[in-house]
């Protein structure tokens, strides 16, 4: 089976800042992979490179066997992406936006797919509200929905739970666990360690663009450490 993600010697330089420094990484399919790191460690840059939104300065990246550098559009066709900051277009309603994404992705039965997500995240009553008038949390729900409308085998999620209320966080975490149990892969970036400890199967720690650690969450647990102390120790030793 091909790896979900394969990164070889990947570096990204912005002017005099090396955001990601010679990172190599492999994520097998069926994992809930957590990319951890402090603010500004290069997590978002890494996700943007993995999804073809940014070209690496050097290195190679393959996602589900697709060369991301050569085929960025194909990459974004087969994966789902929840970006950290982007918000849906201001003047479309929630329903129109999901319908727009269904059209872009050329999906069959768009109404059915949209309805599933409106109900799953309990925002049917806001489907006719303009995206700009939605609360941050509802906008975040919409961004999650757009990423999973086409049921991708691999989804990239950049800090997805920050704006969600505890009830929806639970629904979303259960969805992710179920999704991975079906053989799909989630690449999850966060600095909220409790969430990573709760749902991730594998983790990697990135700091100042350097990859400090990769391994399973069980390895951390077996070392009788909480992820928080493990993480702090790693980053401070750096």
């Amino acid at each position: 089976m091909i790896d979900a993600i394969s990164v070889q010697n990947c570096t990204k330089i912005f002017g005099d800042l090396t955001a990601v420094n010679n990172v190599s990484l492999t994520v097998p399919q069926g994992e809930l992979f957590g990319l951890l790191g402090p603010n500004g460690s290069g997590k978002t840059t890494m996700i943007k490179m993995l999804t073809g939104q940014l070209k690496p300065t050097q290195g190679s990246i393959a996602v589900l066997g697709t060369d991301v550098l050569k085929e960025p559009i194909q990459t974004r066709k087969i994966v789902g992406i929840i970006p950290e900051q982007e918000t849906p277009p201001s003047f479309l309603t929630a329903e129109e936006y999901l319908s727009f994404v269904c059209h872009i992705r050329n999906l069959k039965n768009p109404e059915e797919r949209i309805d599933t997500w409106l109900h799953r995240f309990d925002f049917v009553d806001q489907k006719n509200t303009l995206c700009k008038d939605l609360s941050r949390g509802t906008r975040q729900k919409l961004m999650v929905a757009q990423a999973f409308l086409h049921e991708p085998q691999l989804a990239f999620i950049d800090e997805p739970l920050i704006n969600l209320d505890p009830l929806i966080q639970r629904v979303f975490k259960d969805f992710l666990l179920d999704y991975v149990n079906q053989g799909n892969t989630i690449f999850f970036s966060t600095h909220v360690l409790e969430i990573a400890e709760e749902i991730c199967t594998q983790i990697a720690v990135l700091d100042k663009g350097h990859l400090l650690h990769t391994g399973t969450i069980d390895e951390v647990k077996q070392s009788k450490q909480h992820l928080e102390s493990f993480f702090i120790k790693l980053v401070k030793e750096q």
Partner: protein
């Protein structure tokens, strides 16, 4: 506090532009404008062989009012356009709720900053170029200085009036309508009953030719009062009373079913319909400049025998219509598409399609102009000229600026080729339209070049790595 706020906003503006126009090339923009004006000014003696000095100065005063009108229209767009243009950037102008300063004070600083910014970016460089050229073209420096003064007043008049009108519109579209109708009636009665010429209302020009303290005081009062009213009653939040909207995307995309980009086009039109300013956007950024141009041509150019004003109107209409592309891109940055399987060229193509649809309206405007100017027999060459100019200008804009025309145009690396390509084309078209209007039947020769530029644009911008602005 006000001084600090103003300085911070000026720094903010500078950093936004220098970040977008890489390598500080934005800083060279005023220099280019100065050099361009100097070179253009050297040709003034040739212009004076077909125009009188008075006509030329009327024309230039008109252009400066028009420029002020374009700049002032910003007041209408408010916060949303800034969000679309700059992504998630927070600007001081929209931070009044987080700062211990009133919204009025923040906006006054923003207004003053905008005036300073346009003075340094455009007005002072233009004047410098003109003043430097004055000794070579037989204009006395003193006269040129006075002209510069009245031109600044023209700019401020246009800016403050449209800012005032857009503030009125933000509170009540009916009040704006009443105000416009009322002004129209006053102007009509003045000209028809009291035989006051229209140029009288171009106060700075009247001032330039026959100085009067009363006119100066009246002019300064209009500028100050309308600016103050705008600042006091500023409304940057166009609160939408409507909370629920029916789905327009599907029915509108069916209307555009003839195009591959039906959904994207439907989104463009929804953006225009639902975004802040609503119909006002069309009035202030399209109809108003077009109306000013029409008025100008009707009143001034018709005085010059042998010039078919509808042909010149077609060129102006082409130039103004080309800016509709800016409006289409203002409300739709590429950011929401970055994480979807969409090429930049797809969005460019859809915008070009939307542009062509909107310009059906421009064709109607041209037909009305040809009828009312009593030059319907020149409609076909004028139409071909309009289409050729609008599409060619669009192709150059798309090629050079992609989806960011409003910002990248200030990068001198972009502006030099833009002006270098368009100025000769517009010059030849204007000359042809004046000397032998029927020669403009050949203007569609520009379209194959536009086609090539579009093709090249798609390849170019698909290679582009988006930068967060």
């Amino acid at each position: 506090m006000f001084r600090k706020l103003l300085l911070a906003m000026i720094k903010e503006e500078w950093r936004m532009h220098t970040k977008t126009a890489k390598n500080q090339t934005f800083a060279y923009f005023p220099l280019l404008i100065g050099i361009g004006t100097f070179v253009f000014s050297l040709f003034i003696p040739y212009l004076l062989s077909i125009l009188t000095t008075e006509q030329l100065f009327r024309y230039v005063h008109f252009i400066f009012v028009f420029f002020g009108v374009s700049v002032g229209a910003f007041g209408l767009f408010g916060k949303e356009i800034m969000n679309r243009r700059f992504g998630q950037i927070s600007l001081l102008a929209y931070s009044s709720r987080a700062l211990p300063v009133s919204e009025q004070k923040v906006f006054l600083a923003f207004f003053v900053k905008d005036i300073i910014y346009y003075l340094f970016l455009w007005i002072i460089p233009i004047f410098s170029g003109f003043l430097l050229a004055s000794p070579f073209i037989g204009f006395s420096i003193g006269t040129s200085f006075i002209a510069c003064g009245s031109l600044i007043l023209s700019f401020l008049l246009g800016l403050s009036l449209v800012f005032f009108l857009s503030t009125v519109y933000a509170h009540s579209s009916i009040l704006l309508l009443l105000l416009l109708v009322g002004s129209g009636v006053i102007v009509a009665v003045s000209t028809l009953v009291y035989s006051i010429t229209l140029e009288f209302f171009l106060f700075p020009y009247s001032l330039y030719y026959s100085f009067s303290w009363i006119v100066l005081a009246l002019l300064l009062a209009i500028i100050t009062v309308s600016s103050l009213i705008s600042v006091v009653f500023v409304n940057v939040e166009y609160s939408s009373k409507k909370k629920h909207y029916r789905n327009l995307l599907t029915p509108w995309s069916q209307r555009f079913g003839f195009s591959h980009y039906a959904f994207y086009m439907a989104k463009d039109f929804i953006d225009l319909k639902r975004s802040e300013g609503g119909l006002g956007k069309v009035i202030f950024s399209f109809l108003l400049p077009v109306f000013f141009t029409y008025l100008f041509l009707s009143v001034f150019i018709e005085l010059i025998p042998g010039i078919e004003s509808v042909m010149i109107f077609a060129i102006f209409l082409g130039i103004v219509s080309a800016t509709i592309y800016n409006m289409l891109t203002e409300f739709d940055s590429f950011n929401p598409y970055l994480f979807l399987p969409v090429k930049v060229s797809t969005i460019l193509r859809s915008k070009i399609n939307s542009f062509l649809i909107i310009n059906i309206f421009s064709v109607v405007v041209l037909a009305i102009a040809a009828l009312t100017m009593d030059q319907i027999y020149y409609f076909i060459p004028a139409l071909l000229l309009f289409i050729s100019i609008a599409v060619f200008m669009l192709s150059v804009t798309v090629y050079l600026t992609g989806l960011h025309p409003a910002f990248l145009m200030y990068d001198s690396k972009v502006f030099i080729p833009y002006a270098g390509i368009l100025c000769p084309v517009l010059f030849v078209a204007t000359l042809g339209a004046i000397i032998y209007p029927l020669s403009m039947l050949a203007s569609p020769l520009l379209l194959p070049f536009a086609w090539i530029l579009f093709k090249k644009s798609f390849t170019k911008w698909d290679q582009w790595t988006p930068v967060s602005i």
